[in-house]
Amino acid sequence: MAGLEKPSRWQDAPPLYGEQGVWHQYTCGIAGEKFFRGLMAGKLLAATCPECGRRYLPPQMYCAECFTRTGDWVEVKPPGVVQSFTVLHRDLDDAPLAEPQVVAFISFPGTCGGIFHLLGEVRREELCIGLLVEPVFAEERTGRWQDIRYFRPAHPPR
């Protein structure tokens, strides 16, 4: 670092710690509101693009490709299909998880997209792409993702 004076020891220039004092509250939006109201009622709702006919789950207010407002809301029935899964060993603080989490991307036939959620009641050797799964709803639902506790292999098993 030509021409620059460095501290004799870097400890002489300790870092300055700081953080944000704010937090955030998000509305679910036009499509999200409908979707989570559906979830409270134990239903998975998808929205349809009037131009290309794609059925989006999770729904969006618009079709990103046609750039058109979606409509024609339909209920999508489980089971869903595991498109990919991972066994997660770290929590958000990057600390090891005592109990690894199984996370899956789950799509539903006839829809475009899919849902990210935890898998439960599942043995490691059972895990595979293509596994059919169904949601386990929470008893108390408040219109958020936690209204689904997790997905589990669809019964009866494959």
């Binding site: 021409g3 300055l16 710690y17 953080e19 937090w23 955030h24 509250q25 679910c28």
Partner: protein
Amino acid sequence: MNVSVHIRDYPGIPLKDRDIAEGRVLTTEWRVKARYAWDTGAALGRFFRGLKEGKIYGRWCPGCDRIVVPPRMFCEWCFRPTVRWVEVGDTGRVNTFSVSYVNWDASRSTVPRVPAVIELDGASPGMGIMHLLGEVGDTLEEILRRVKVGMPVRAVWKPPAERQGAITDILYFAPRPGGGE
């Protein structure tokens, strides 16, 4: 009434606070753990060590012959290294000031604070730092009567044992009687 004579529909659904409070609209919350340990580096590292000793340091640029505060290892105008540490005074003059009744989160405070830009003696003209003024009164009227642009001030320091090597080692700047006008 139109945005443009050709557009008649204005999208957007405004909400009231009670729409959320009463659960008519769903929301989710999140508090991000955004924490940092910023490297102070060479210039501010030395500056903060100085504050701990009750001294304010600037840097001198040989190109434009300025003593700059806050210090930097380069001159932003000459684009060459600054080459010398210079202790500047802990006295100066008010360049501008305001009287704040809001806290960091926009909540209101009944006790006003007086942020100011203070041009430090011994640094080149115009070299100000932002800090607070103190000992200038408790009401808007009193503060406006006592504080003037150009008013001489001096730093009021924390006791040496309580200093941490931070800008808050200076508690505030107070009027300096006899500082001249």
